[in-house]
């Protein structure tokens, strides 16, 4: 289970639920994961939230944009109430130089419509990161200036980091072994 110790200093007492597990911050559902603060905005709230965090709350640095494909996840999804679990999750990491705080934003992206608004306007440093997510997962970022593959060759088919994409290992045969591994 996630660590329930509430390290959130400064949020109003009325935001804290009884269990200490969920609360809201910056108008978005919040949870904790091993002591780290995680927000769960919807796709339509993402850009505005990141902009507010950058301008008003001091989270000027976007550290990372990545994604996870939960297709083969064997444990319960463990999301707060009100957040619908989808196949893909886009994960954005933010950092504040002033306070040293970190935030993680997890945005649910459905398989049927794998798109997400781009953060390029708010943080130009997400350009290559979003291209990598597109290349590896096939999630399109709306508003991205140039969404093309970045790691794989241009004519590659498929999105390698999806769980239904095989690792591509060739069977290794040793002399005398009857069964292929």
């Amino acid at each position: 289970m996630a660590d329930t110790s509430n390290e959130a200093g400064g949020d109003a007492p009325e935001d804290r639920a009884e269990s200490g597990f969920e609360t809201t911050r910056y108008g978005t559902t919040m949870s904790h994961s091993r002591g780290q603060v995680v927000l769960h905005p919807g796709r339509d709230q993402l850009v505005d939230l990141v902009r507010t965090l950058r301008d008003d709350e001091g989270f000027r640095v976007c550290v990372d944009v990545t994604a996870v494909d939960y297709l083969a996840f064997r444990a319960p999804r463990d999301l707060p109430d009100g957040v619908t679990a989808e196949r893909f999750e886009v994960v954005v990491g933010l950092l504040s130089h002033a306070t040293g705080e970190r935030l993680r934003l997890r945005v649910q992206v459905p398989e049927a419509d794998p798109t997400c608004p781009s953060l390029f306007d708010v943080h130009p440093g997400t350009e290559a990161l979003e291209r990598e997510v597109f290349d590896m997962f096939g999630i399109r970022f709306e508003g991205h200036p140039d969404l093309s593959r970045i790691l794989m060759p241009e004519d590659w088919e498929g999105y390698p980091l999806r769980k239904d994409y095989p690792v591509g290992a060739i069977p290794v045969q040793f002399k005398g072994v009857q069964n292929a591994r």
Binding site: S33, D64, D146, L151, M152, P153, E154
Partner: protein, 444 residues
Amino acid sequence: MSTAPDVVTAELSEGSQEMGPRKGATAAELLRELGAVLRLSEAEAAALADEVSDDQQTMIINMGPQHPSTHGVLRLMLELDGETVLRTKPIIGYLHTGMEKTGETLTYLQGPTNVTRMDYAAPLFNELVFSQATETLLGIDGDIPPRAQWIRMLLCELNRMSSHLLFLATNGMDLGAVSMMIYGWREREETLRLLEMITGLRMNHNFIRPGGVAADLPDGWRDAVLRVLDLVAPRLDEYDTLMTGQPIWRERLQGVGVITPDEAIALGATGPILRSTGVPWDLRRDAPYLHYDEVDFGVVVGSYGDCFDRYAIRLNEVRESMAIVRQILDAMPAGDYRIQDRKVTPPPRGRIDESMEALIHHFKIFTEGFKVPAGEVYCAVESPRGELGCYMVSDGGAVPYRMHIRGPSFVNMQALPHMLRHGFIADAVAVISSVDPIMGEVDR
């Protein structure tokens, strides 16, 4: 004399990943290649597109991926007006190894062998951040023995030294001071020899593992470390004299590749690039991990944001690392070199013959691997290139469900178009060298 009947034709062109002529590009694409960090209006973008009246005046050339100065397999497409660089588009992926996918098939104990090959100039940092993420998921990050943490610190600082010496060597060679290549490698060899004595390998050590380190420090390590420190310190002063005050060096580096603090932050640059602009952000001091809050060291910060500052920062970071290593020598505690939790750490080989339990634990850890509780976590350390992070998701199994490494060089590369703009093509070499990318962690 036969050639294969079905000839396989391979494509060199990367289609839309390459740079196209200016007239065909959308405004947003142009802006990005021009290195703009803020969105300008369509009219201003159109004005920029007309900057060069005739397309024939500019030339798009290709630099790399096989090129002596691109620090690995980086391909740059440059639009030149004479010798001046206007637009830049880096094309990466020539070293993509699918490490994140492979990481989903390896156990947590095998994980460090995989991630260590990402930033191969500073491999111990990759192992450290992977181990930290695993330990946080396991919940044992507070229980790692102090000696293990101090050994990790020692190894990381030695690795930072060898990585920065590599930078000094390649930076010198790129700018024409070829003897610096030989000198830098001479020092690096001494450090690698020391790392080989401690970890068993010169590179890609797989030494920092979840739970601690793989083995204890060997006898005589103190003398060996002191010998390296006493050897490197006066030679660093020699390199300082050789390069820092030299007029040609200054001419080639000062004022070249300038980036302002706001631009660096907007582009996500970290490490020496960010510190060269004057932002004093160093994870070792501002978000301390291991025992960095117990050692005294300075964070080297520049003021102009140019290549010279980045060179000077890395040179002085070697000195700071040496000071940290001296303090570690005095402060190294006795104790275990890894956590004694038998579910995570393999038992000592001698015990396997004596105890059935030890044999079973050894077997389970090395074949199936230990299981890590479900959850997700992000951990970060300060590598020689910037913030190296690991985002790990576990579903309760013996292999990570998703292992993502935030490579600092991957994000720092986004600052290249901006730094190269309106510089000479010769400066392109200096700027790439000052960013010090390692393509292994750019492409993963």
